[in-house]
Subunit: 114 residues, 2 copies
Amino acid sequence: MAEIELSIRIDLETGERIGPGRIALLEAIGKTGSITAAAASMQMSYYRAWRHVDELNRILAKPVIASSRGGGSGGSTTLTPVGERIIALYHSVQEHTRSAGRTEFQSFRKLIRS
Amino acid sequence: MAEIELSIRIDLETGERIGPGRIALLEAIGKTGSITAAAASMQMSYYRAWRHVDELNRILAKPVIASSRGGGSGGSTTLTPVGERIIALYHSVQEHTRSAGRTEFQSFRKLIRS
């Protein structure tokens, strides 16, 4: 039977969106400590990654990442508590959906061409 | 407090997706009885709408729409039982997600810039 996965996207009344791509980008930044490395790991340009982060920072009341410049390693980028929280909330909603929608998913799978 | 809405997208292992746009298109076809009219109501080209429907038909075990040609009105397009079922399942999962994720949504709203 076909495997199906679920993505959720949060749509704000301003038309802005927080979806799986932006969450994956934040996670990659948290993992790599760098927008450049995170962008590369997602086959995304630095500019595009930066734009996503910038938009998240405008959407949210507080920034999602913090950068420290200079130092031996040339500075690093870390997730702020708000960045971490957004990731956690996203996964929590996704988990809820998976368990709450189990019956529908089974019906859905049966309609997929095998 | 900011209003937020939720979209879900179903990702198949083949890389194909069924999301809010395709569901809205099916609903518009059901309402208007025509791909042309449905596409126009969504500011979408006929070709693009047709491609979405064609891909849904390939993904699913049975077609989502049925067309009757000719006749006084020049034929019409209706949703098949599978088309209706996909729409219903999608909304059911979305409803479950809304209620199951209520706590997270409240936390989430607090993080949005007001």
